[in-house]
Symmetry: none
Subunit: 193 residues, 4 copies
Amino acid sequence: MSKAKSASLTPKTLGRPKSRRSHEAILTAARDILDELGSTRLTIDGVAKRAGVGKPTIYRSWANAQELGMAALAGPLEGIRAPTQMVDLVRDVIVRLNTKRGRQMALLLASAEPDGELFKAFANQVILKGRQAGLEILTRQRDDGLIHKDVDLPLVLDMIFGAIMIRLLLRHEPLSEGDAAKVVDLAMSGIKK
Amino acid sequence: MSKAKSASLTPKTLGRPKSRRSHEAILTAARDILDELGSTRLTIDGVAKRAGVGKPTIYRSWANAQELGMAALAGPLEGIRAPTQMVDLVRDVIVRLNTKRGRQMALLLASAEPDGELFKAFANQVILKGRQAGLEILTRQRDDGLIHKDVDLPLVLDMIFGAIMIRLLLRHEPLSEGDAAKVVDLAMSGIKK
Amino acid sequence: MSKAKSASLTPKTLGRPKSRRSHEAILTAARDILDELGSTRLTIDGVAKRAGVGKPTIYRSWANAQELGMAALAGPLEGIRAPTQMVDLVRDVIVRLNTKRGRQMALLLASAEPDGELFKAFANQVILKGRQAGLEILTRQRDDGLIHKDVDLPLVLDMIFGAIMIRLLLRHEPLSEGDAAKVVDLAMSGIKK
Amino acid sequence: MSKAKSASLTPKTLGRPKSRRSHEAILTAARDILDELGSTRLTIDGVAKRAGVGKPTIYRSWANAQELGMAALAGPLEGIRAPTQMVDLVRDVIVRLNTKRGRQMALLLASAEPDGELFKAFANQVILKGRQAGLEILTRQRDDGLIHKDVDLPLVLDMIFGAIMIRLLLRHEPLSEGDAAKVVDLAMSGIKK
DNA sequence: AGGTAAACGAGACGGTACGTCGCGTCTTTCA
DNA sequence: TGAAAGACGCGACGTACCGTCTCGTTTACCT
């Protein structure tokens, strides 16, 4: 079971409500530390000191440093809608990941404990959500007869999103918006009827 | 330059040589811990105790737990030769990564500090070495006129190896030997003349 | 200024107060180790383990093993009041130093870093405090005309307390309560009018 | 039993002889470290590095850092002969201890393990040898009828040498050559017939 | 208006692991 | 065969964070 907490600011109203000021100071401090020192240096002690906040105040909302880091970076990848064209989706994902926060998220993902709940949840948010949207597009296209029937669609999607991920994580080659069209073209040319 | 230590057992012969017994006891202990407890629980203290060795003896050869872990797992990915057929290369990579050690390496890679020397060195060993071999194959085929001239070969390779990597790291889908042919077929069908 | 920590349990009440239980467990463990193993074997690791306490808890109150040892032994030498008779003072000092703790303090003093704050503070507590009380007695007696005017009183005191100290540290001869009268007689016979 | 070794430079001539160069480099390095860093920082590792010498070469001649330190400082207190006058003896001791090396010896004594062989040997060399010489003088004087018969001579000597020692170790007052006459006068005035 | 309940800052707690220093011993090769 | 070099097992060092726990204080809501 996940220990993840809701981080909601108003559970039921009884007693003193959580301080919005502190909440945001914590998230800001976490982002600053990620910016300046990297994900390995994101510690609860450090965030508490920087935010001028007690540690329990942090633990009241997040279970550990990774969850806090994830929350601090959340946002840029929210609201990926499924466009009707594959290329639009891929371009959208690349653009979102190519922001500063997007890159930090990828790094945080890479440094998260790979067996943990968080890793999976985060991976889902960062990569798999887009992949799932892509799967729906391709499935529709196959149903419409635009794509060969016996193609392993999940594998195609892993090639597309794997290409994005490998460049994001290993950074041996730059990842640019223009790659969206190229990678989709390459993938489609092999599977189009 | 890297601060990484060589861990070589006989640098030039001066003074007492490093003990082969200790060296191997350390690596064995590290592998055992990785097996039983996972990469998060790989600590220098733990390895020292298990190997019956002093901590300084470990630090004399490796700078930290990740480097030690990497060294402990090294081997299965060595010696990837460049076959003439792309599918053979990809199958080779998948087979090697699909061993227990291969998966442990991927996990270790994922938990390494993403900006560090180690991450890059390891990424290079795990993924990029295969990718480079593939690049040579495809370049030769293009020179032989078997592939369209204006194809972005690095991108093709990132699609192939990205597909492997994404399945290895995120584990949303299994990675099997049979995927080698499929992924190469998909990639080639789009770029073959 | 000294870097020494105060080890006071209630500085001003902010945050969780120091645990009296832990504090006393630490001091007791330190005393036990000094008793059983001697000052050389007084280590922070050992005290922490024996007291069932984390090392940082010890370092929060004392800067190193010597300071802890000093604190553990403090007490028997406190409260030396200045009697009106020199012999009473000297006997008091000898009696206090001749306890088990008193001897341990002398040993600890001898093993402290001789240039450090601690050495001086401890020396002051162990020896010089008594010497100072004696100086007041002798000064009063001189003012009363009982002692020759031109006597080097500090030197007289160093002879008296030096005799105590040399026996305590070098232990070539025993130090007994009866020596108080003898040493004072010897000193006074040379300076009385 | 003491592990102290002879430190002789020419045992019997068999195989390669001990290097006089190394021997002196070690002692010089030890003295330099005592000068610059103090007795607590006198380590075998440090001396070996500074002297450009292997550690075993040091251990071949001295059992540990304290013995080495003692050897490095030895000399100034050697050759205390027993003069016929007490004041000459005391002045001699003070002069010898008031050199730089003399003070270092006192500090080394103070930081030595108080139960060890070394402490006793060193104490003997630094303080007790002089005290013993004094005991002979006073005994002779008593035999000659110059001193009261029932005086506790060892105590008198501890007062004299204790005064020297307390000033040397605690350094609350300076110790000067002129104190020799004063301290002897004080002591003698109480015991002379 | 008063009581009460929760969140607040501060910071100490028992732990685990870190990476380093120094010990005194050992095992090499070189001279 | 002694010296240099340096690795060895060991034990302790002092520090960083962990996640939890007490404090006294503050800020709401709910009588």
